[in-house]
Subunit: 204 residues, 2 copies
């Protein structure tokens, strides 16, 4: 947005808002004007909620899911099957898989996928901690549930190679999911089925 | 959004983001997760830009447009025709009309339109200050350039009545704009033409 609105405060808010994904200059301006019309309290509550979330949020020390506690409610639930770990890209995917009610094991949140173009290497992800966790916790099966994209497939393959020495069974979601789609938009029935029909990674 | 993400910090940020117009629960979650992945600085810059804008922004004491100075650059420009005042709903509409390059007078930003359903009465808008300005500044023509909606028309009519005693000429944009559309989405040619062909308010 190269237009200026007579105010560096407004210009800056529009610039910052337009950095959000899917929000262009016009939408950013509409949001900024909306915030100017709102009560001061509402606008400040939004700004502070963003700052506090980014500064204070904590992650489960075991699975790296977002958590208020040291260990998240899923990891600390004794009724979950601790011998099966489902590897996902992010927090949203945990929620998506939980909503199928087909999976009763634990998770491991990578925090992204390997993507050289975006400068994301294996060292930026929770892959070392996964390998270490498999060795330490006596995990019998690792289910790779990354999005079926090139980056997801690359990450799957990298993890498969890293885990080869451990002898753990590595499976991946059944390819009921259409290639190129995001997990989030897959219907629960298909996704649930593809967890039940998961296949050994090397058959894939 | 009635889903919970294991973290009141994330829940709260999603709730606050989903109050923005056009942003639902899913988009709010995507934005929040984007902010968690970004550098802490970027997320804090966004939050602070919103808070600072809302707390510190100033308005022109004459036309109520957003301004860094006591009087905005348009009002203080001696080459603008101070005898013609264009009444608009908000800051965005000033920019939209400026982009036509057909208008050389000053503006008066109401800050909204009369809308009983939203609890916006004439007292919430800069209408008294417009009436007072017309009396004090020797304005010869007031152009009503509100959006052609029911609320816009109501506000036009209310202002027309309030200005009747002053004897000032009150005109309105030519109805080249299709009914029900927003100014912002009208092409510049049509909008420029409708400023040139403005008609006295009571002919309309």
């Amino acid at each position: 947005m190269n237009q200026s609105y007579n105010s560096s405060l407004l210009d800056n808010a529009v610039l910052q808002l337009s950095k959000l994904p899917g929000i262009g200059g016009k939408t950013a301006l509409r949001l900024a004007l909306f915030l100017l019309r709102e009560d001061e309290e509402s606008a400040v509550a939004l700004g502070e909620s963003i700052i506090r979330m980014r500064r204070e949020i904590r992650y489960c020390s075991r699975c790296h899911n977002i958590s208020e506690e040291e260990v998240c409610p899923i990891c600390s639930n004794p009724r979950r099957d601790a011998s099966t770990v489902c590897v996902v890209e992010n927090v949203k995917d945990v929620l998506t898989i939980e909503s199928t009610r087909e999976f009763h094991g634990l998770y491991h949140v990578l925090g992204g996928v390997i993507s050289p173009l975006d400068g994301i290497s294996p060292a930026d992800l929770e892959i070392d901690s996964l390998v270490e966790r498999v060795g330490r916790e006596g995990i019998r099966e690792v289910i790779l549930a990354l999005n079926p994209t090139i980056e997801g497939d690359t990450t799957n393959f990298y993890i498969f190679r890293r885990l080869a020495a451990s002898g753990v069974k590595v499976s991946t979601l059944a390819r009921g999911i259409s290639i190129g789609n995001e997990l989030e938009y897959t219907d629960e029935l298909t996704l649930g089925r593809s967890i039940l029909n998961r296949v050994p990674f090397d058959n894939n």
